[in-house]
């Protein structure tokens, strides 16, 4: 599904965000990506989406060499991924429902299907009552849930969630992670970066820990902290 092969990413500023990352994530896996601030988690997820290209090594997603993907093929790649961005990236001048519907319209979904599926996604994250509000009128946690709705509405084969619970209270965070786990049960590959030890420790799924751009730990049923 996702295969990093000796991947390095050095930003033009000279920062080496990732070095010699080799890892394989199989279809249907649920993976927590942990590590301190600036360790390269977001960069890892951006490489999968071809937002950034690796400076060395190969990133293969679903058989495509993402690093060498022609610009014209990038949209097709991104449509197969459902992404929760760390900075939300909601369109400020469209309603919650429009923001979620947007991901469907982009993929050319049959218009009659869009309404029900948006409704389903918003109900899943508990934001259906706010469908007609603008993002600026939502609290931080509410915006984060709208992002998640947008990520799952296309029923993608892979969900990438960058810090999807950063603005949520423990209870809401727990609900979101359970939701991701349910989606994973349906066969969707889920990759979640997080700083929340509780969630990781309760769920006990595969944990990949980054530190200064290198994989320092990769455990099948890991905890947030390495067990010494």
């Amino acid at each position: 599904m996702i295969h990093f092969d000796g991947v390095g990413k050095r930003y033009p500023t000279g920062v080496a965000a990732l070095s010699q990352v080799t890892v394989r994530i199989d279809p249907g896996e649920f993976v927590f990506l942990v590590g301190p601030t600036g360790s390269g988690k977001s960069t890892f997820l951006k490489l999968i989406q071809a937002i950034e290209r690796p400076t060395t090594g190969r990133v293969v997603v679903d058989g495509d060499d993402v690093g060498a993907l022609p610009a014209a093929a990038v949209p097709r790649l991104r449509r197969r991924l459902g992404v929760v961005f760390q900075e939300f990236k909601l369109l400020p001048d469209r309603t919650v429902a429009d923001n979620v519907a947007f991901a469907l319209r982009v993929t050319g979904t049959d218009p009659v299907e869009i309404g029900p599926r948006v409704q389903w996604a918003l109900e899943t994250v508990g934001m259906a009552p706010r469908a007609d509000d603008l993002p600026a009128r939502l609290s931080g946690g509410e915006q984060q849930r709208v992002c998640l709705a947008r990520a799952i509405v296309t029923r993608p084969r892979v969900v990438l969630a960058d810090e999807p619970t950063g603005n949520l209270d423990p209870e809401a965070a727990w609900e979101i992670v359970q939701l991701l786990a349910r989606i994973n049960l349906r066969g969707t590959t889920v990759l979640v970066s997080t700083h929340n030890p509780t969630l990781v420790d309760i769920l006990r799924r595969r944990v990949i820990e980054l530190c200064a751009g290198r994989i320092v730990r990769d455990e099948a049923r890991g905890l947030y902290q390495a067990t010494r």
Partner: protein, 286 residues
């Protein structure tokens, strides 16, 4: 996609209004320049058409011979009109111009003026040629064509045409740059939207589509506004000019507006579309 574009315009109301007004004004200026320049060219043409060559006959040339000269002149080609003027007619005209000469026939033993032939030349640059040919004809004593006046008219009409073309080209060029800049600014103000579209997997075409249609709609709206303004202004001004300046040759609205509006609409549509395209290119490289 049309619905998307309309929604986009509604959401960005102020920006769309600003861009469209700017485009409309720029188009109006360009269209106005075109109309004015067409009228100047027409004026120049009218002046040129008034340039004439006069050939004076010897006093003994009979009307039949004069008719032959007339036929030969017409056969020359390059003339737009040629008429014979009798000495009687010439005197009448002179008396009309100089009223104090009304008494001349009473004073004089006879009419001192010669018969003549008046020739209008289609292209004033061929006037010398026509004059020489006329001078060589049988019975023609002298040929007058006001070389200085002809030179002036040729110079003036050329200047007017060049000035009109240059002004129109400049105004159209200005309108173009202004419109492209306006759309580019409007797109820059929405770069966030463009970025997010790309991130959720919209193909470049899908991102571009609504913007291009929006640009096209704006171009059309601007062209429509400019059309209304230009047509109304020209109808009023042309009517006014015809009433108070009957001697000034103003083009009929039907003769100049279609071309001006064609320029204006093509400019509006092409630039609306092209401007959006250019404005977008910057944000679609990633």
């Amino acid at each position: 996609m049309l619905a998307d574009a309309a929604a986009g315009l509604r959401r960005n109301g102020l920006m769309a209004a600003a861009a469209t007004t700017t485009m409309a004004l720029a188009l109006l200026v360009a269209g106005g320049g075109f109309v004015v320049s067409a009228n100047l060219a027409h004026l120049a043409g009218t002046l040129e058409a008034q340039v004439e060559v006069v050939g004076f006959f010897r006093r003994d040339v009979p009307p039949a011979a004069q008719e032959r000269v007339l036929a030969q002149t017409v056969a020359l080609g390059g003339t737009s009109a040629a008429t014979l003027v009798t000495r009687a007619e010439a005197l009448r005209r002179l008396q009309q111009t100089y009223r104090s000469m009304a008494s001349v026939p009473a004073v004089l033993p006879g009419n001192p003026l010669p018969d003549s032939i008046e020739v209008r030349v289609a292209d004033p640059r061929r006037i010398r040629e026509v004059a020489e040919a006329l001078r060589a004809m049988e019975g023609v004593e002298d040929v007058v064509y006001g070389a200085a006046v002809v030179d002036r008219v040729i110079a003036l009409t050329r200047a007017v045409r060049v000035a009109g073309l240059v002004a129109t080209a400049l105004l159209v060029g200005c309108a173009l740059v202004i419109i492209v800049n306006t759309i580019r600014l409007a797109v820059a103000a929405r770069r966030q939207e463009i970025e997010i579209m790309a991130l959720v997997g919209a193909s470049p075409g899908f991102v571009r589509g609504p913007f291009l249609v929006e640009g096209l709609l704006q171009g059309a709206a601007a062209a429509l506004a400019a059309t209304v303004a230009l047509t109304a202004a020209y109808l009023v001004l042309a009517a006014r000019a015809a009433a108070s300046l009957p001697f000034l040759p103003v083009l009929a609205p039907g003769a100049v507006l279609p071309a001006a509006l064609a320029v204006l609409w093509s400019l509006g549509l092409v630039v609306g579309l092209g401007g959006s395209e250019i404005g977008l290119r910057r944000y679609l490289t990633a």
